[in-house]
Symmetry: C2
Subunit: 141 residues, 2 copies
Amino acid sequence: MKEAVDFSECEACACFAVRRAARAITQHYDRRLRPAGLRATQFTLLVVLARGEPVPLHRAAERLGLERTTLTRNLRPLLAKGFVRVDPGEDGRERLIAITPRGIAAVTAALPRWRQAQRSVARHLPRSALDALAAAARAAR
Amino acid sequence: MKEAVDFSECEACACFAVRRAARAITQHYDRRLRPAGLRATQFTLLVVLARGEPVPLHRAAERLGLERTTLTRNLRPLLAKGFVRVDPGEDGRERLIAITPRGIAAVTAALPRWRQAQRSVARHLPRSALDALAAAARAAR
DNA sequence: ATCTGATAGGTGTATCTACATCTATCTCCT
DNA sequence: AGGAGATAGATGTAGATACACCTATCAGAT
């Protein structure tokens, strides 16, 4: 008789739970933002840039919790649309990322749609849940 | 004088919070699972298949909260490694997905590594946080 | 002045994700 | 039997993600 391994404990997989929620929630935001021509990821990036001075790529990546190389790729569609600009920094190694006026216009136009998406979802995510997520992410080392 | 739009409310973006956590946590699991030759996504899929009879693709996608088309693509690397098998179903439209003996061996070998990844992260995600995530995902319609 | 190690970015490659759209098959109605 | 609508999957396309590895530049030591 075959001794089947028991995987029932894996039902509680934290990685699966968080990824699944991220998929569903991202789809939700993406659908709401679509008429504004932005994805959720792009909206987030533009918001970060809109709120500060031009930042070197590695610092922006750090703030967003992204790999530097991922941010390089994520910038592509925004560069193509003229929503962001990349300039050389004083430090010759750095590239400064900045939002353009067209980027400001796009993210401003998208803001009401973001609010709509946020309303229906954030209600279910109390501070304690967000804190737990952040703590789990920090523990992931 | 330029009237800057205020994006400070976007700091609380639920989509960003969940995506960021998903990135960090996925990296954590991926690193632990790497010596076993599996990604977190692949491990999850194999576990689902290991726990049940062969299922039509659309049903597996439903269980995983994935688009059917996404699952089609996610199967590719597992098919290439011979970890899963796809057979025609009685219903000529359906394809039945099943795990192979090699797939069983792979997911069994990865289980201790999954446990290790799970231990350090799940501690910070109480039931209430997971419930909130699930509720938020359900609200995302 | 120069060498060495650290830091910033980009590229190649692979995977994950979803939408729009297409084909094949099934079900049900007439 | 035959047609209409529903359902299951696959493919084209685009974006998001990370790792391994490469180049360019800087900072500090000698």
